[in-house]
Structures are given as structure tokens and as C-alpha cells.
Amino acid sequence: MEEALLDDIFAAILDGDIPAAPGKVQAALDAGLGPEKILNEGMIAAMGSVGELYECGDYYVAEMFTSAKALQAALGVLRPHLLQEEVRAVGTVVIGTVKGDMHDIGKNLVTMMLEGAGFKVYDLGPDVHPSRFVDAVVEHKPDIVALSALLTTTMPSMQTTIDALTAAGLRSKVKVIVGGAPVNDEYAEHIHADGYASDASQAVALAKALMNL
């Protein structure tokens, strides 16, 4: 019974069945399953499979996005229960697209995939001034700050954001990860970031590695 309910959640997220996913979570809650079990064995497990299917080329961005949206719908039902039971996230991330860059769809996908891996994510949106990253780090005390940029011309804002964290004395307290079309490992190293990920699936792997998960 328990297994079947978790399988239903797993399948709804894997298939990207956005309309069905919240009901499957509610059914599991109604049957008395714990929110942490639902999160870990239903939802996080499903997003792990989505990541694997994407990595091996069976899933494309369209499928990954659809699964991520199904996850969001499911989390809408589960989140109050996670809060109530004080289920701890595996880590906390502050994420945003850097100053001057309005592009946030890739960043949104990373956000959803990180949530699907059990992270608590504070999303600051697009076009985020370095001082807002600093304020968010002070407020949320994240483990990781994730910076996104789509353009070669806005990528230097990653450097100024890292500089702002350093100037505020916060750089050693967080890991900084970077991603987006113009970024690569070499650039991440150049600006003294702690890591680079080439897509949303890799971003999850990187965040987990930095948390020693």
C-alpha cells in the first residue's frame, strides 16, 4: 500500500503529470505517510531519475522542465507538512541571475531541480544587484550561493558579486557556484568560484558534492 502510493508520486513526477501530482501527494498524506518519506522516497527519488534520464539522452529539456513543474505542484501540497514536522533541508541555497541580465528560465530550472534534490532555495530572481546577494546571505545564511548569467556581457557581474561577498566578509562562509551559457570551468576558477555546472542536472550534482552528500 505504502509502496504503491510512493510509486504513484514517483510516476506522476517522472511523467511530468502536473495535474495529477498534487493529488498523489495528498493521497499519500491521507494514508498517513510521513512528509519526509514522501519527499525522499517519492519526489527526490523521481527527480533523481529525471536527472539520470536527461544525462543519458532519453529525456530532453522539455521533459525535464515538465517533471520539474510537476514537482513544484506536488511540493505545493507537501510544503506545509514539511514545515510542520520541521523536516530539515539537505542544504540552503541562495540563487539569482546577476545584475544586468534578465534571463531566468535556466536559473528557474536549476532552482526546481535543487528543490527536487531536497535543498531549501531562496530565489532572488533576475537582474540581482551584488548588494542584494550580500543581504540575502546575511539573512538566510545559505550553504551555497548560485549565480546565473546568459550573456558574455553580463558574466562579469559574477565577479563583482563575488567581490561584494568578499568585501562584506562573507565569502568564506558560503560556497559560490556559477552557471549559464558563457561560463565554463576556466572562468569559474578565474573568479574564484567554488564550482561550475553546465546544466541543471549537473548543478544538482555539484551542490550535493559541495555538501558532501
Binding site: Y60, K99, T153
Partner: protein, 412 residues
Amino acid sequence: MNARERVLAAINHQEPVGVPVDLGSTPSSGISAIAHYNLKHAIGKAHWPTQVYDVVQQIAQPGDEMLDYFRIDVVDVGRAFDDRPEDWYDITLPDGTPVQFPWWFKPSPQPNGDWEAINQDGVRIATMPLGANFFDQTCFPYVDGYPESFADLPKVMPLIHWAGMAHSPWDHAGDADFWEQLRARTLALRARTNRALMVVIGCNLFEWGTFLRRLDNFLVDLVMDQANVERLLDALVEIHLKTLEKVCAAVGDIVDVARFGDDLGTDKGPFMSPKTYRQLFKPRHKLMTDYVKQHSQMHTFLHSCGSIYKLLPDLIEAGFEIINPVQTIARDMEPQRLKQEFGKDLTFWGGGVDTRFTLNRGTPEQVKDNVRANIEAFSPGGGFVFNTVHNILPDVPPANIIAMFEAIDEYR
């Protein structure tokens, strides 16, 4: 062999005398206004105007003098319009670069430094944030869902900045005698240049879905709501075919290449599976390429960014002869692999030099090495027109552009 003959030979898979070169014949094979300004100063031609013909991406139209200077082989018919000094006005970009905008484009600077594009009805259709170098779409008419009828689609499309702030010749599309003008001006252009002629027709399908619904929603629709996707695509094809009918009638016997657009790729692979492409897009792309082939002399060119290797067999069957920009650093897009597997069927218009790492951040020597390697991979037997992988952006040093042309000159 003149410029046009070089381009046509390449498309016909014959090795031309000298590698043909594009700079600025499409809004994805050109040079940004800021890079254009810096380049003209570096070569001692400060008096050349920098005219921003694609205001969305802030792309300059290289003038005839620049085309001659760098020996460019192909031009866009759009340059036959807006050809009087009074069609342009002087303006200074937020970074201080003096340029010219077309008379009709009057963005509104905001107190926070952003520039907004407001249409005649007062709708904000695009924004260029402070520090950015092009306008991003801000209006997504179908973001909340599909309408029951697409009867209003022709009125909705100009709310998308690509259509509402369209580059020439389409900035004149509302003129009463536009189609007659297009023919007359293209004939005059044909008479005064021996370069190949390009017409940028767009006719995007996947991208129109993303413009109207927003990318994240439309990606989900491809998986979850294919019935509505097909309804929308049918409505778009109907509109596009009407445009193609007019384009073919007006200039189909003069112009050499018709440029379609549809960005189907990400860095890691297509947005959708080949199966989804086959089901939703391929038959509709084919309808449009068939029309062009049956009603004009024009060759079919598809602009699609990203890794589209997995879609190439289907894109060839869909009727595309030329692909651009050939994003060589994306997954599976290595020049040798593409040439070996698809060189007989496709002309690679692009892939000349990487613009993400090499042209903007490399040394002039690294640029030359990249240019030489790509030309040597793509050009044997024809099927190659040199073009940077997408536009030359503002952060590209002029010395690297000059190095690029010096390396190209070794092959022409």
C-alpha cells in the same frame, strides 16, 4: 568568380574560388553596434556611421564601405530600405557609444537606467536593463493559456518585440506599397552589387510558441498539451504561408537565400526529442520549405542555435539546405563530425570561429588558429560559408576581428 557565384557554388557543394564570407546578412550573422563602433575606429574609419538596424539585439548594418573593406560576399535585402540620412537619427547608447537608430525607434530611458520600448498603444514590449546590450521581451500574450480562437493572432504578434521592433525591410511592412517597394528596391540592389542576396523571413514555429506562451510554459506544452500546440502551429503556418506567398512573388526570382529561424537547441542537445520534432514541427517546416522551393529560386536556410545534431537528419528531410550558426562548441557539434555525416546534404553557414570563448576572450593568435581549423574542416568540396558562430558581441576586441579576417584571407 564573383561574390554571388562564390556563395552559390558553396551552396551547390562545389568548392568556390576563395571561401565565401558573411558579415551582417542576417541578424544572427552580424556585428553588434558597440563592436562595430570599436572596429571602425581600430581600422581608421571613424567616419563610417554605426546604424543599428536590428534594435532588439542592437546589431549594426555594415555599410557598403565595410563590406568592401572585409570583402563580404552576401547582403540582406533589408539594406535597400532606410537608405536616406533622414531615416536615421543620432543617439548615445547607455555605455556612451554614439550610434544611429532608425527614425521609428524611440526607446524610453527610465530613472533606474533601463531603456524601455513602449508600443503605440502604451504597452511595454521590451526592456534593456542597465548594463545589458539588447532588449528582452517583456510581453507574453498567451502566458496564461491558449485562446479558443487564433483569429487575433496577427494583432497579437506585434506585441512580441521581434515583430513589434522588426528590422528592415519589415519595419516598412505596414507601408501601403511595401511589396512593390520590396521588389523595386531589391531589383535596384541586385543591379548595384554582385553579392548574393538574402531575405530574412523568420517563419519561426517553435520560437513563436515560446514568444507567445513563454519558454518554460511552451516546453511543458510540448509534453502535456500537444493538442493546443498543434492548433497554434497550424495558425502560425497559415500566417507564415501568406507571408511566403508575398515574398516569393515579390523577390523570389531575385534573391538567392531565404532565411528561416527556429532555435531548437540548447548547449547539451535539442529542447525536444527528435520524436517530438517529427510529430509537431517537421511536417509544418516542410510545408514552408516546399512552398519556397516550388515558387522561387531561393535556397532554404535555417538559423538554429545550440546542439541540433540529433535533429539534423529530420531537418534535412524537412527541406533545409543550409544551417546556421553551427554552434561548434555545443555537444555533438564538432566540425569534423558534422562535415563527415552531413556535409553532402547541408551547407554550413557559420561555425567559422567560436564567439563564446575564443573571439571575445582569446588572443589574436588563438582566433586565427580557430578560424583556420574550422575552415579546413568545413570548406573542402564547398558547402561552407564563413561566418562567426552568431553575432560579434560588444566585448569582442577589434584586434581579434582583424585577426579573424587575416586568417580568412589565407583561404581566399
